[in-house]
Symmetry: C2
Subunit: 462 residues, 2 copies
């Protein structure tokens, strides 16, 4: 990759001819596209191209490829490890206008969407069909971005992550070729699993321009509850035992008492200031009642209080919106002037209690505001670390804490990121996590993008 | 790849020094390792190496790589598309003696196994733990082979396929490097999904030497039933509606009346000679009863007879063993002297009734004995086509029928193989199914195995 200024300028000029006013070089738009929700510094692209179709993305990519110009795909900009930063400049391809729901195949329980459709838009659209799409990261992210980062969320313990719920993708490769990774069949043994290769590849192998996603029937009965615990350990052990009993729980989310206080304030709830589980059960009315009873007994054995039920849909939505707003709630409660660094790790569930408790001790020893919240049914939890950007070194002093948390998770047989992805933030940990396998990832990257124009500097340290 | 006779001989001599009597060149052993359960001709390797460990597989591979010698991995030899044929000679690495169950992590509901462990051996071993591994192709295949072909079986509608149930693999690459594809964490966004890349790669990218697999709790209640139908269409529509209602059915298998007759004879059952569903429900006692009632109502609406229940474990095992023995039952009922060609396709479930009915008409027009059986909850079904190897052209005349079946499935948005894999038999259809994406698969193959020594001639036409 030359990344020559002159080459990039030529590419941008050609793109301007192609796209007219859908190619922007204004600083405000570039800034919006070079900065995400993470603690990383912004890196602005030279231009932002608002693409309208798969074929147009391919045209854009071909022009960029000809001129060795880096490409970053952009959906909603809600990534948490700076996936969208244009580290070497180049062109941001914004797919947010590719927001058509192409086809609902209700009988097959799947849907074809363009990548700019957000998860909430999809579910609003589906409401009358009796179907829904379960993957729900905190932000109302685009489905293309969610596939690119292998996102998950609160429902993953029952419904899986983007890994399990993308049936097929259309992708524009680094040389402008357009591929479809698979058919709509529910299973196949017809060659390499390209769908799963592109899910989680963070834009480093191609630009996702269409997705076929699995859908699920809206359950006949849905019941949500909160349950406070005397100790964090009791809450975590309740989760572990629930999973081990095979209860098909839909959501089981942990909040430590700091996070409970934050969402009480932000979302005007009145929860007791104790470690807390948010739970949701899906099924038939009898099935839901049976699941709930089993979990209530497990909770009781682990020092849990009474379940407080939230049965009507509005109250339920309010509860889960509060959970999804955890990051905003943390921000609101953090010391004035703070910014937040959201991070995540994931471990085998047998190590979860130890991992969270040891992490809490680290947090205390650093004296940092860092509420914990987690999709603990999968062994995945988050810290939101507060730092003051006006205080020199205040962010940097947390690097050591982050490294401690990650290295502990790896030592426990886990991963450096359960759902946020690598981006710029977790690159250095991939060597420890993957060893020689990281070289294999690089070989694949080089084979498909030899000029390294696809989101350069992400996943791999250059 | 030179594939020179002399080079191969040197490699075999070196392997003989390394392995002693665990390196065999006797014809009987080579024949056993060059022939599978498929209709394809046998292709014998020059030698068979019985490997004892991951490190030893790596040593074998390094010697073969040095001498441009093809490598075929072998588990139980139960593949159905000639995956194990040594088309260019070379060395067969038999991993069947690597059959240790390394570690059951009961709390995390996973298990680490060597690749030669078979599915039945694993479940026998697990019995006292209350856990089980659900993937069950007809044969008692090795778990390494099942991962390599992305196998599934009767439980996939509820539990997924090998794609969903392999957490991590150890793999020896074409140059002898050993990698681990992932941690034991249930989910991760830490880079490319190498696990899914190797699952289904049919030995063309490396040799699987260890697997970490998901386990499930043995359900509190299990209930199985058979239900006869007036028409094949009624049976298929019952499946479609059951899936669409979101019933978490564990197994829902279709047999046409020819297959019912075959298994009646072979397994000494007394089922009515009608299209038939075999069903199984997993859950709590109340949950199972509720599921069963829902499906019984759906069946009744579609011309189904009464459910005949098979509740005690021995009877249930007998029923499912009969289902797993469908291939043997077909062979026993086929015209004397016949051999069988087992094939499979998979389509979106909305097209399943049309696909099966049109396929039946093709079978009739060819006048061939070809019972139909299928994992229809996933849209996947099988034909076992009988031919007489003593009659010149009798096998070849079925090529056109197979092509019709595959091309119909592709036209309906499906895949040329739901679970058997590509091997030699489906290579030519991958162009129609994948188009440009097949070139991407080839690029990955070339990047990781530039000398094409890993199971050459499989998946890709050379």
């Amino acid at each position: 990759m030359a990344r020559g200024r002159q080459e990039i300028n030529v590419a941008v000029a050609k793109l301007s001819d192609l796209l007219g006013d859908r190619l922007t070089t204004g600083e405000a738009v570039r800034r919006h596209h070079g900065d995400d929700l993470s603690h990383h510094a912004a890196h602005l692209p030279d231009a932002v191209a608002f693409a309208a179709s798969t074929e147009e993305v391919a045209q854009i990519v071909r022009i960029c490829a000809e001129h060795h110009t880096p490409i970053v795909a952009f959906g909603t900009g809600t990534s948490l490890e700076c996936h969208i930063a244009a580290l070497h400049g180049g062109v941001c391809i914004d797919v947010s206008r590719m927001d058509e729901i192409v086809k609902v195949n209700a009988e097959d329980m799947d849907v074809v969407v363009q990548p700019g459709v957000t998860r909430k838009k999809l579910n609003d659209y589906l409401r009358d069909t009796g179907l829904f799409f379960p993957i729900d990261p905190g932000a109302d992210a685009s489905l293309g971005g969610m596939a690119a980062t292998r996102a998950s969320g609160t429902n993953a313990v029952r419904y899986g992550t983007m890994r399990e719920n993308v049936l097929s993708l259309s992708v524009v490769l680094a040389d402008g070729r357009i591929i479809r990774t698979a058919s709509r069949a529910r299973k196949s043994s017809a060659g390499y699993d390209l769908t799963r290769l592109f899910v989680g590849s963070e834009g480093t192998l191609g630009v996702i321009t269409e997705l076929t996603l699995r859908l699920y029937g809206i359950p006949e009965a849905i019941s949500a509850a909160v349950c406070p615990f005397e100790t964090l350990e009791g809450a975590v052990n309740t989760v572990i035992q629930t999973i081990q009993l095979g209860v098909p729980i839909a959501r089981i989310e942990l909040l430590d008492e700091v996070m409970v206080e934050a969402i009480n304030r932000y979302s005007k709830l009145d929860l007791p200031l104790q470690p807390m589980l948010f739970l949701e059960f899906h099924g038939s009315p009898a099935g839901v009642a049976e699941q709930a009873q089993t979990v209530a007994e497990v909770a009781d054995d682990n020092g849990g209080g009474a379940f407080e039920w939230t049965d009507n849909p509005e109250e339920r939505s309010r509860l889960w919106q509060a959970r999804h707003d955890a990051a905003y709630a943390s921000a609101a409660m953090a010391p004035p002037g703070s910014k937040l660094w959201a991070t995540d790790v994931c471990v085998p569930i047998s190590r979860l209690a130890d991992c969270i408790l040891e992490t809490r001790r680290d947090v205390e020893s650093y004296g940092v505001f860092a509420p914990i919240v987690g999709h603990v049914g999968d062994g995945n939890f988050h810290l939101t670390l507060a730092y003051d950007p006006a205080v020199p070194g205040d962010l940097e002093r947390l690097y050591g804490l982050n490294e401690k948390i990650v290295m502990r998770a790896l030592k426990m047989g886990g991963t450096c990121t359960g759902e946020h992805g690598v981006g710029m933030g977790k690159r250095e940990f991939l060597v420890a996590e993957h060893g020689v396998a990281l070289d294999v990832m690089r070989q694949i990257k080089t084979a498909l993008d030899p000029d390294n124009i696809m989101n350069p500097g992400k996943i791999f340290i250059e």
